[in-house]
């Protein structure tokens, strides 16, 4: 098989052999991503959908200088899978609701939601990665391409800020 850059160049030109090589090389990746989202009944359809989107302009939008083709294809597949789950109204990474139902706790949750939305985008992202996806500091650092201490300090500052707001609102 050709090296990736040559392969992509030929695929963009519509070379049939290159497209067949692309299918052989990456269809397994797509297949595996669909299993991750437990979409066992849709695997072949999703594989077709991914290649169809690549054919219908997706490959023209792909820039080999900015990302590897495997990341691009995994992203496209993940997107499609999440979209299917969204249309099926499947909640993503569900967390059990608290048992407390009193008004004060509901108010605290509302305040937390409002104050989180006011955080900087970096703080918000780190909060969400930590709390909703239970990522470690190292994992968050990798996702956001920052160092460990940045994540640690940003998270601490965000929490401190949220706690202060919560206490202030209840004192008011």
């Amino acid at each position: 098989m050709k090296d990736n850059l040559t392969l992509i160049k030929l695929v963009k030109e519509g070379n049939e052999g290159a497209w067949c090589d692309l299918v052989k090389k990456y269809s397994q990746l797509i297949w595996s991503v669909t299993s991750k989202y437990s979409l066992f009944n849709n695997k072949e359809d999703i594989c077709q959908d991914v290649f169809k989107r690549l054919l219908d302009g997706g490959i023209d939008k792909y820039d080999p200088q900015k990302a590897s083709i495997s990341t691009y294809i995994i992203t496209l597949t993940t997107w499609i899978c999440i979209d299917i789950l969204r249309k099926n109204k499947t909640t993503f990474a569900p967390v059990p609701l608290t048992q407390e139902t009193n008004i004060e706790n509901h108010q605290k949750i509302d305040i937390m939601e409002t104050e989180i939305e006011k955080l900087s985008s970096e703080q918000k992202l780190i909060i969400k990665l930590k709390y909703f996806h239970k990522k470690s500091y190292s994992e968050i650092a990798k996702i956001m391409d920052r160092d460990y201490h940045f994540v640690k300090n940003t998270l601490f500052n965000a929490r401190k800020h949220l706690k202060k707001k919560l206490i202030k609102k209840f004192e008011d």
Partner: protein, 361 residues
């Protein structure tokens, strides 16, 4: 008594303390009500945040990130400013956010599952079918545009054969392709002495062949006009000044390959010149084809038009030009069709074989 800082308590909740520090912390908690209470409060705050994950469904926004933006972000190939803009979106869009996390998780987990080979094969076939169908549609659009761009009288003439040209395109850019039943079996192109011209041609008349082993000269002879030329090359180009022939009638040519005075190979064929009217039509069409891009498409369309007008040798040249740009089984099929019309079965069989081979061989 020394107490743990709030930061340390957060690190403990997040499992980010070293095992040594964890031990110390747990021991301290047993004896310190202040830190135990502080830990309880922090855990409560954490719960309020975690509950928010259920507070809204992840809706796709109109300005959601593209796959390329997400891929570039994941691979860290963005400027600081672009990264900030993307993180601004990610912090507000659960859909894109979950896509990023999903991709990173998949890459980290690295769990690859075997895909059945019949599914890979089906996918490949569907893609080839789609590629050919798209190419066919592009060519038909360009053909229609060409037809519209021609002057009035030429439009009517073109109308007469454009549906036949459309059929050629429709029958070539499909999957699977038809094929010819081979007459001579497998061929190696080097063993075929390719000679032209055959059938209808226009000036300059090109005589072309592969070199014959041991030959030191070739003699071309056109009996009807008593023209002959000796050469040690494998191509002779004759303009109207060289041979002034009436159009329409068949002209027989004879080519001898000689070693010194001994004839070691001899072959004959026929060609005829197209009428002046047809010549004008082709020239006009050729002028309008100049605007067709890319070159590959121009060559395919011109080849199909020449084929329709029975200038098969010239059509083959155009198709081969397109094939050089982009080796393609559909173009190979058209070349095979032209050789079939010229009754050159060995060449037809060779190009018919290319319709089965990989396009990049």
């Amino acid at each position: 008594m020394m107490h743990f800082s709030e930061e340390d308590i957060f690190l403990y909740c997040d499992n980010e303390l070293s095992s040594e520090q964890m031990k110390t912390f747990k021991t301290h908690l047993k004896n310190c009500k202040f830190c135990a209470k502080h830990l309880e409060n922090i855990k409560k705050h954490n719960k309020f945040i975690m509950v928010l994950n259920n507070s809204h469904m992840f809706n796709k926004q109109a300005d959601c990130l593209t796959e390329m933006q997400i891929s570039s972000y994941i691979e860290g190939n963005l400027s600081i400013n672009t990264r900030k803009i993307i993180e601004e979106h990610l912090s507000n869009c659960k859909f894109c956010f979950n896509t990023v996390v999903g991709v990173m998780d998949f890459i980290k987990e690295g769990i690859i599952e075997e895909i059945p080979s019949n599914i890979v094969e089906n996918l490949s076939k569907k893609i080839i079918k789609k590629l050919r169908s798209d190419k066919k549609n592009v060519l038909l659009k360009k053909l229609a545009f060409l037809r519209k761009s021609l002057p009035g009288y030429m439009k009517n003439i073109f109308e007469g054969f454009s549906s036949s040209i459309e059929n050629k395109i429709n029958n070539s850019f499909i999957y699977p392709l038809q094929s010819f039943s081979p007459v001579f079996g497998e061929h190696d192109i080097e063993n075929i002495i390719t000679i032209s011209p055959f059938g209808k041609v226009r000036y300059p008349v090109i005589f072309e062949w592969l070199p014959y082993e041991e030959a030191d000269k070739y003699i071309l002879f056109l009996e009807e006009i008593s023209f002959s030329r000796i050469t040690n090359r494998t191509r002779i180009e004759l303009s109207q000044e060289d041979i002034n022939i009436d159009c329409g009638g068949d002209i027989m040519w004879n080519l001898k390959a000689q070693r010194e005075e001994e004839v070691i190979y001899e072959v004959s064929g026929f060609f005829s010149l197209i009428s002046d009217e047809s010549l004008k039509e082709i020239s006009l069409i050729e002028e309008h084809l100049v605007s067709v891009k890319p070159e590959e498409d121009r060559l395919i369309l011109f080849g199909a038009i020449l084929e329709e007008m029975e200038l098969f040798i010239e059509a083959i040249h155009k198709y081969k030009g397109a094939y050089t740009v982009s080796p393609n089984q559909c173009i190979a099929y058209r070349i095979a069709c032209c050789y079939d019309r010229l009754e050159l079965e060995d060449l037809r069989d060779y190009w018919n074989q290319q319709t089965f081979s990989n396009a990049d061989d």
